[in-house]
């Protein structure tokens, strides 16, 4: 199965220098940004709406609709969320590192579409090289008059600031990101207000978009709404970057349209499993997502709705494949540990509950589990995320705590026997 390359086209065709402004312009770069200045605000918002572009940060919210919510007060801000930190997700890294000008051009289009004159890119703290590449690209764009005062000779001003985070996953949550950008602790804000489009950065109307979402904008202008829609599934237009990792032969980023099946993604695109191994389970959309198992989900179509109906989510497109050598208790514990470590600590259930889950799972894995621990696990999980429902019914401000519940609800649902085996054998049966 072949990839449908859009945002990764340039890096595939020109692996050596796709990140340079020379290559970018030689391959048609910045022509769409120029056009956007002539198109004007309404037409741009309309175009993005018609394209059906869904946000690529995880929530899959229609990008055009988000833009149309932007409150009329000015100044307004554009914030690009490049704080990609979900375990297994590494698509934005590639876009930042290999095609930073594509992002800069997208930023210009988004800024013009929303009448914004200040944009910020919040880059994950650990992404030193991507941040350097992006910084360089921004400087080059300034140098050529594509950013700064009177961009492209128009009377439009646009300042872009690249900001490096300090290593907190929670700053990928957009309101925590805004707090961090303002210099506060990276803690999610209370909702309501639900949308930064009303009250965002420094209390002003703010658009927060993911790197991949923004990177798609030049292509939508180039292809037109219909051209873009045609590429993908009718419900999920355009292409989607899957970061496939785990027990597959060919892990990596794959740009694909929606609508293929999990079987196709894992066994064809990613090359299947290693010799003699069988598929045990996989995480369909990042560490927060409830897991899928072959018996129920292998031939499911990969779309936002189909995944949602099956009780999980596509999220940011991180697919983590686990074969039969995986201890699910250990896997769940590692994921819970991640969330416990990354909890901001505001809400009691997340701060205390996620660490408690981690401790119980750790104890079971080490062979010190008790039968009652399964009930405690489920009830502690229930006190973080009521009914273990997905999407979660939260007792917390943001979904980080409930995300830690997903692996617990998944292994107790599909692998109860394996947990009990840990308890009865006083250790891991796979070792």
């Amino acid at each position: 199965m072949n990839e449908t390359r859009l945002v990764t086209r340039r890096m595939a065709d020109h692996p050596a220098d796709s990140h340079t402004i020379e290559r970018y312009e030689a391959t048609g770069g910045y022509s769409q940004a120029r056009r956007s200045l002539q198109m004007g605000r309404e037409r741009l918002v309309e175009l993005v709406k018609e394209s059906g572009l869904l946000g690529r940060g995880g929530a899959a919210f229609p990008a055009g609709m988000k833009w149309s919510f932007l409150a009329p007060a000015r100044p307004a801000y554009l914030v690009v969320n490049a704080d990609e930190s979900e375990p297994g997700t590494y698509k934005d890294r590639q876009l930042l590192e290999r095609d930073p000008h594509q992002l800069v051009e997208g930023i210009i289009i988004a800024a013009v579409a929303n009448e914004v004159h200040h944009a910020f890119v919040y880059v994950r703290g650990e992404y030193a090289r991507p941040a350097r590449r992006l910084q360089r690209a921004v400087e080059e764009a300034y140098g050529r008059g594509y950013l700064g005062k009177d961009i492209f000779g128009s009377d439009y001003d646009l300042e872009v600031v690249v900001h490096l985070g300090a290593g907190a996953y929670i700053c990928g949550e957009e309101t925590a990101l805004l707090n961090s950008l303002e210099g506060h602790r990276g803690e999610p804000r209370l909702k309501p207000p639900y949308f930064p489009a009303a009250t965002g950065l420094y209390g002003k109307p703010t658009i927060v978009n993911n790197v991949e979402t923004i990177s798609n904008l030049p292509h939508i202008l180039e292809l037109g709404a219909d051209g873009f829609r045609k590429l993908g599934h009718p419900e999920d237009t355009g292409t989607f970057l899957f970061s496939v990792s785990g027990h597959v032969r060919k892990p990596g980023n794959y740009e694909l349209p929606h609508g293929i099946t999990w079987r196709e993604l894992i066994f064809e695109v990613a090359g299947g499993l290693r010799e003699g191994r069988t598929l045990k389970c996989w995480i369909p959309g990042g560490a927060s997502a409830p897991w899928f198992v072959p018996a129920d989900h292998l031939d499911l179509e990969i779309t936002k709705d189909a995944t949602g109906r099956a009780g999980s989510m596509l999220g940011s497109g991180a697919v983590v494949v686990m074969d039969d050598t995986t201890c699910v208790v250990r896997a769940a514990q590692r994921i819970v540990r991640f969330f416990a470590h990354e909890s901001c600590g505001q809400c009691t259930p997340c701060r205390e509950g996620t660490s408690w889950l981690e401790m119980i799972l750790g104890r079971i894995e080490e062979g010190a589990g008790r039968e009652v621990d399964v009930d405690v696990l489920l009830d502690v999980a229930d006190n973080i995320s009521v009914g273990l429902a997905w999407p979660p019914r939260m007792t917390t401000i943001c979904p980080l705590g409930p995300s830690a519940v997903s692996p617990v609800s998944s292994i107790t649902r599909y692998f109860k026997d394996e947990i009990m085996a840990h308890i009865h054998q006083a250790g891991c049966p796979l070792r």
């Binding site: 990276g186 416990a340 600590g345 505001q346 009691t348 997340c350 701060r351 205390e352 996620t354 007792t395």
Partner: protein, 819 residues
């Protein structure tokens, strides 16, 4: 249903509640308590502890929602009893307790702990947590006054929010994150806040404890009485708690009119002097260079005889009295009546030559209430640094300036919106003040040149045009007072006169010493009689034939003593040597006066020179009333007996009057209060019964039946402009060498200490090294030099009344030379 209310249903009961109110508050005000830890009515909600999760149905079905972050909306349904709500609340409490050490038996909070109480009421019976608890080093001192136990902390952010949002000293913060989150101070920056004790009071567990109170008592062993703090003039409501006749703790009471629950650390922790073993316990009579102990009868007879001699030989005007501003209204009334009816002299003053005109303080027109600050469009502070001298007013002004006053719901939506936006704050002071960070405009001037600045501000030209325009936006509340001891007192009055030309303007005149206003209202001033009556007002006949010629004020009394005109001087809770800015004058006057009596708690620098010293009851040892800067009369109450043989001032004066062949006719402090309510027009009807039962937040006088015969218009005569190469600014700091602080060691050592603050350029120009000699108009000292770039060039600053530095005088002209 009015336009300012909405209808909601709480547990099946339909309620009409104010629009914009939070669900948790609306429910509580109507009898449904929703458990909580992080929510505090005086701070912005953060929704962190999640304890107040309840079902809220805003039309899309019931959802678990935090009641502390959700404003009411018409038609909203709230369910606090559903099994799912109970389960969520039990879950939160179990989470909060998994890492809580449960060391309640050795925790100060045990017995009055919201975590204990709510666990009993809403928590699960037992914990399922079998893992190792989180550990931190057990209590660490985060300041001289506060200890922090991070194991007990439930991370509710009350203390961190208080210090950032309310007091503006963000010295305590969350460190790390998630499971490892802890509250702590920044390295090398202790929690040195004037308001740190509030965090101890609002901590819902025993994480923050007061160094002074640790392990001193269990809550169930304490007896308590409500009272009014007398460290500053705001009249903050407090609860005094004692055990075994020893005062152990003060707590703030949430009185909307005054302190809204907050206290400064000086108020909260400044009671050590009451328990001091240095207290005077028996009357003392001079014996050579020292004193000998005497009986009350012996001491009072001696005073009666000597005063009688002076009156006979030199006339009643040779007798004078200073003080009365530290006691109760009843004490002050007794002093006033004693001087007028027994001695026959108007030479009495409760002011220490460091404040403003008596009529201006007592009877100025357009007087504001403290709560007017909340609703002001523009606030002008031209007076002392509120953070140092009027700390709870600082909190109130700060809150009004930054806006979003919690608890101020939309009973009037325009006012609500204005308050949310914050008032325009104009601060005028010779140097940096605590309010500067939230001020919209800050004007500084050289001491002596205030009149010049006032004229410029009035004209509103040039750089002052913007400030002048801001002041034209009413309602305006102006807090005016003397910025320092070298400032002409007439300047503040002239500022007030200017303020009266502004739209919808009200004035709070600022004075020092808690009951200055009460003492003035009782006539402890050379020109005033009880109830804001002028001495010349012939309709005041309650005291019979009294002298009608205005007497001497504080300065004139001291000068009279020096000149030999004053032969006998009574100090009633007054320490002129430390308090009068012209310390040299006070010093020589007390040496010169032939007969000096001191009624005090301690052998102060002044009392040490007396011929007879009488031990008085202090705060918490006597009942009475006090009057704050608004004119609000409130009760102070007794909870412990006095020290040794000490007596209340009124009783001493009553006894003395009888020994002088006269009588004040008092039987008790309450009887005096009744007499005041009859005699003093402004206080008509203000009895203890009213204050104890009907008006716990006090009564602002004149009110009800009361009238104010004297109405004073501030005079627009700001005094001369004094220019000099070098001018002195000298102002009070919260902790100083005053007598109460001196005997409250844990606060006394926090005093900044005597120092000469000078701009680095001036230091270089004058060739100053580590120490310098400063010579003022009425005192001199050799002090350490502190360079301070925030000072204007040509201005030096010396904090007033610090250990080791006498008052330097009231003239701004000063010389400084290397030492």
């Amino acid at each position: 249903m009015s336009e300012h209310t909405v209808r909601i249903v709480v547990d099946g009961r339909e309620l009409e509640v104010p629009k914009g109110e939070l669900v948790i508050k609306a429910a509580q005000d109507n009898g449904t308590y929703i458990p909580r830890f992080c929510w505090h009515p005086r701070m912005k909600p953060v929704g962190m502890c999640r304890m107040c999760l309840v079902f809220i149905d805003s039309g899309r079905g019931p959802m678990l929602t935090t009641a502390c972050t959700t404003p009411v909306a018409d038609g909203m349904k709230v369910d606090t009893t559903d099994p799912a709500v109970k389960k969520a609340q039990e879950g939160i409490l179990e989470f909060l307790l998994i890492n809580h050490p449960l060391d309640c038996p050795v925790c100060d909070r045990g017995g009055e702990c919201p975590l204990q109480d709510q666990t009993m009421a809403y928590g699960p019976g037992e914990s399922r947590f079998v893992e190792e608890k989180r550990h931190f080093e057990k209590p660490i001192p985060i300041s001289d006054l506060v200890m922090l136990d991070r194991e007990r902390c439930i991370l509710c952010a009350r203390c961190t929010r208080f210090s950032e949002e309310v007091s503006g000293d963000p010295l305590i913060e969350f460190l790390d994150r998630g499971y490892h989150t802890e509250v702590n101070t920044f390295p090398d920056h202790p929690f040195r806040s004037y308001f740190s004790g509030n965090t101890v009071q609002i901590c819902p567990v025993g994480a923050l404890t007061a160094t002074l109170y640790r392990f001193r008592a269990r809550p169930w062993d304490l007896v308590a009485v409500e009272s009014t703090c007398t460290h500053c003039t705001a009249g903050d409501r407090i609860v005094i708690q004692a055990s075994q006749n020893e005062i152990l703790r003060f707590l703030g009471v949430d009185a909307e009119a005054t302190n809204q629950g907050w206290l400064s650390d000086k108020c909260r922790f400044g009671f050590g002097y009451i328990n001091s073993d240095q207290r005077l316990t028996v009357p003392l009579i001079r014996d050579g260079d020292g004193f000998r102990e005497a009986t009350w009868g012996e001491a009072l007879d001696l005073i009666a005889q000597r005063l009688g001699d002076v009156i006979r030989t030199s006339g009643p005007d040779a007798v004078a009295a200073l003080g009365g501003a530290r006691g109760t209204n009843e004490d002050a009334y007794a002093l006033s009546k004693f001087m007028r009816t027994v001695v026959g002299s108007n030479n009495l003053d409760c002011r220490m030559d460091d404040t403003l005109d008596a009529e201006f303080l007592a009877a100025t027109v357009d007087r504001a209430l403290i709560s007017d600050i909340d609703r002001a469009k523009t606030i002008l502070v031209w007076g002392p640094d509120l953070k140092e001298e009027h700390p709870t007013l600082y909190l109130r002004v700060r809150r009004a300036a930054i806006g979003s006053v919690p608890g101020l719901v939309s009973s009037n939506s325009d006012a609500h919106l204005a308050a949310a936006a914050g008032a325009t704050l104009v601060v005028v002071h010779p140097r940096a003040t605590g309010l500067d960070p939230v001020a919209d405009f800050k004007l500084t001037y050289r001491p002596g040149s205030g009149a010049e600045l006032l004229a410029q501000l009035r004209a509103g030209e040039g750089r002052l045009a913007e400030v002048r325009a801001a002041l034209a936006e009413g309602p305006v509340v102006a807090l005016v007072g003397r910025t320092g001891s070298t400032e002409d007192p007439r300047l503040a009055e002239a500022v007030a006169a200017f303020v009266r030309t502004l739209p919808d303007a009200k004035i709070l005149p600022l004075a020092r010493r808690a009951n200055t206003y009460g003492a003035l209202d009782m006539g402890v001033a050379p020109t005033l009689l009880p109830g804001r009556v002028s001495i010349s007002e012939e309709t005041f006949t309650a005291w019979g034939d009294i002298p009608r010629k205005p007497g001497r004020d504080c300065r004139s009394i001291l000068e009279g003593a020096l000149a030999g005109d004053i032969q006998a001087l009574l100090l009633v809770g007054a320490d002129p040597v430390r308090d009068v800015p012209d310390g040299d004058l006070a010093d020589r006057a007390l040496d010169a006066v032939p007969f000096l009596v001191a009624v005090d708690l301690f052998l102060t620098d002044s009392a040490g020179r007396a011929d007879v010293v009488l031990p008085a009851d202090g705060f918490g040892e006597k009942e009475g009333t006090v009057t704050n800067l608004e004119g609000r009369v409130q009760k102070v109450n007794a909870i412990v007996p006095g020290a040794g043989q000490s007596r209340p001032d009124w009783s001493i004066l009553d006894d003395l009057a009888r020994r002088m062949g006269s009588s004040l006719g008092f039987g008790s402090a309450e009887a005096i209060a009744k007499e005041i309510a009859e005699v003093a027009p402004a206080y008509r009807g203000v009895t203890w019964d009213v204050l104890d039962w009907e008006a716990r937040d006090g009564v602002v006088v004149p009110g009800g039946e009361g009238t104010q015969p004297l109405v004073y218009l501030p005079a627009d005569t700001p005094g001369p402009i004094i220019k000099a190469d070098l001018v002195l600014h000298s102002a009070r700091t919260m902790y100083d060498d005053g007598v109460t602080m001196r005997h409250t060691p844990h606060l006394h050592r926090l005093a900044p200490g005597a120092a000469l603050h000078v701009h680095p350029d001036d230091a270089a120009r004058l060739g100053l090294g580590f120490r310098a000699r400063v010579v003022g108009s009425s005192g001199s000292a050799t002090l350490p030099v502190v360079t301070d770039p925030s000072l204007a060039r040509g201005v030096v600053y010396v904090p007033f009344n610090q250990p080791g530095c006498p008052p330097l005088g009231s003239d701004p002209r000063v010389t400084v030379e290397p030492a």
